[in-house]
């Protein structure tokens, strides 16, 4: 809990440029963000030493505070990459999307969102989403069009597609976490470790608690016999690797939760 006497930071052209570019991209990975920060320093104030990224961003956030905007940091659910996005705190969710999509497209997104949240795995199959096309508000949309719209969402980083199923992109989670918690308080899932919103993750088959894949990776790191933190039963799923920014390779996780074939333990 911070004291209310928070010093407002100083914005220079370096920070402003950074903000403009971050805004253009929507969401960026930490590596790209660091690179962007260096670029902004180079371009506007090459003599200055760059702040640490965390301080740099906190500085910007302190200025943006009064505008109800902030640069939020999150972690991608599937491979634990840190990401950053510029988020509006004061408006309803979907607002960033509202200016880019038609009414029926936004409604499609909302329906997909609801299916994703209600699902057990955090994924909604494209068939199920497309079946709801008749219930959309606004102009009538055919299934073919709906497929295109879903692809647009993927391109603009609101949804991720895997094997014909859709889940939320890290960006959508960052921007809409509060909205989701408010709209779906009963079906929303949370991580037992970080208490953040959970869409994809692993769950204990005995007591049902859930954890993000990166949270699992950290919690069980180097533990040869993982046990559920809640009920202490054996943790039956494959433990993913902790994300290492140095080793830039393919993500090592491929939804082990879904592929787990362990029998229920009673």
């Amino acid at each position: 809990m911070q004291s209310s006497s928070r010093r407002m930071g100083v914005m220079t052209d370096v920070h402003r440029r950074f903000l403009q570019l971050l805004m253009t991209h929507g969401v960026m990975e930490e590596r790209e963000v660091a690179h962007l920060q260096k670029h902004c320093y180079k371009v506007h104030d090459s003599s200055a030493t760059a702040d640490k990224l965390e301080d740099f961003i906190n500085n910007i956030n302190s200025v943006l505070e009064s505008l109800y905007i902030e640069i939020k940091k999150g972690i991608t659910e599937d491979d634990g990459r840190p990401i950053y996005a510029l988020v509006n705190l004061a408006t309803t969710p979907v607002s960033k999307m509202a200016s880019d999509y038609a009414e029926n497209e936004l409604d499609l997104f909302r329906k997909a969102l609801e299916l994703i949240i209600d699902s057990e795995s955090g994924f909604a199959s494209s068939t199920n989403i497309l079946n709801l096309v008749d219930q959309l508000k606004g102009k009538r949309m055919r299934k073919k069009e709906a497929e295109q719209v879903l692809q647009k969402f993927v391109q603009n980083k609101w949804l991720i597609e895997k094997e014909g199923e859709f889940t939320l992109h890290g960006r959508a989670i960052l921007e809409m976490e509060q909205y989701i918690r408010g709209m779906y308080p009963d079906s929303v899932k949370t991580c037992n470790i970080c208490h953040g919103l959970l869409i994809q993750g692993q769950s204990c088959e005995t007591c049902g608690i859930r954890m993000h894949l990166p949270c699992v990776a950290k919690y069980f790191q180097a533990n040869p016999e993982p046990h559920c933190p809640h009920c202490n039963d054996y943790w039956p799923h494959e433990i993913p690797e902790v994300f290492d920014p140095e080793k830039e390779g393919e993500p090592t996780i491929s939804r082990p939760h879904r592929k787990s074939l362990r029998s229920r333990q009673h």
Partner: protein, 413 residues
Amino acid sequence: MPRGQKSKLRAQEKRRQLRGESRFLKTAQASVATEKDPAASAKPQVEDWSAKTQVEEQSAKPQVEGQSAKHQVEDQSVKPQVESQSAKCQVEDQSAKPLVENQSAKPQAENQSAKPQAEDRSHNFPPIGTSCEHKVPQETPATIGAASAIANADSEEGAKSQDVAPPRTSSIPELWRRDPLNKKVILLVQFLLQRYQKKEPITKADMLKFVIKKYKYHFNEIIKRASDHMELAFGVDLKEVDPIRHCYTLVNKLNLSSDGTMNDEENMPKTGLLMIVLGVIFMKGNCASEEEIWEVLNMMGVHADRKHFIYGEPRKVITEDLVQLNYLEYRQVRHSEPPRYEFLWGPKAKAETSKMRVLEFLAKVHDTVPSAFPFWYEEALRDEEERAQARAAARARTTAVVSVRFRNGNFYP
């Protein structure tokens, strides 16, 4: 064994039942009093937030009824969080401390664990009358929440200042809260940002309709403050380009060069592709066949028939989108049968960037410097010279015109 269908259906049913029950529960609670019992306060964050979302499209009615009315208007999903009403009532009912806490706890939805809800809420108490009266912009159905108000912005304060590491806390300068105009300023800033990103001009009419509404007599004040914010935080200037039709545009004050903004760091994903295509065209003597372009793109993993995770449909982008925007020229090779096509630089590309810049971009991509490509470097240098001369000539012409007019006694061209 993996969970069977029956088990899944049962779980869904259960969830739906619970949803129904809690709705009922909330309605019951709402009608009781403004006092929240501990059970209810167990889930304040989420409920209050939905109150918030639903409040946003309300017109100024007494808050309690307003909320339920909102529920009908707001078509997000049928999850009336009626009790969150009391959250809004908190403004009127200063004594109901628990409410205040709940409302504040709402923004901290992320910190699910029972955080002490009595944070610095007390100082966030807005003066009675401001938030209550505050009218929220009426949303057209089409724009779901594009410019929703911060109905309880004051109580929203808990949501601010997300440090890179949790937990979140709040602290807003006192003077912001006391000022109802401020909410409009904030909304306007967000509205302008959206338009800026889409590079659309902004009319006063639009601003009044979507954001300012009943405060239209304060338009000048609001727009001044919003543009100050934009300048301070984002380095963009709000300029009136058409004083008759009141059309505004946002200009980037941080322009690095006089020629335009194209720069490899600042490209939207599509323009990254554009730079490469321009580079190929340049290196093939300012005209490249479609096959040559695809050869290079294929090496980067961009294929004509495959969707790209950044560029979408690459073929459409380069043969249609970028051509329409005048960045590229795409024409059939003369007398080619079957028809083959070639690419050239379009007029917009020539205006917004230069051969030197494209060469710099390519050099960077190959981790080297432009002079490593001597032949093209020479050509780029010549191009720079020509441009500089053209600029000087243009300036000379303008000066000449002005001085002629001056001599003839015509001071106002």
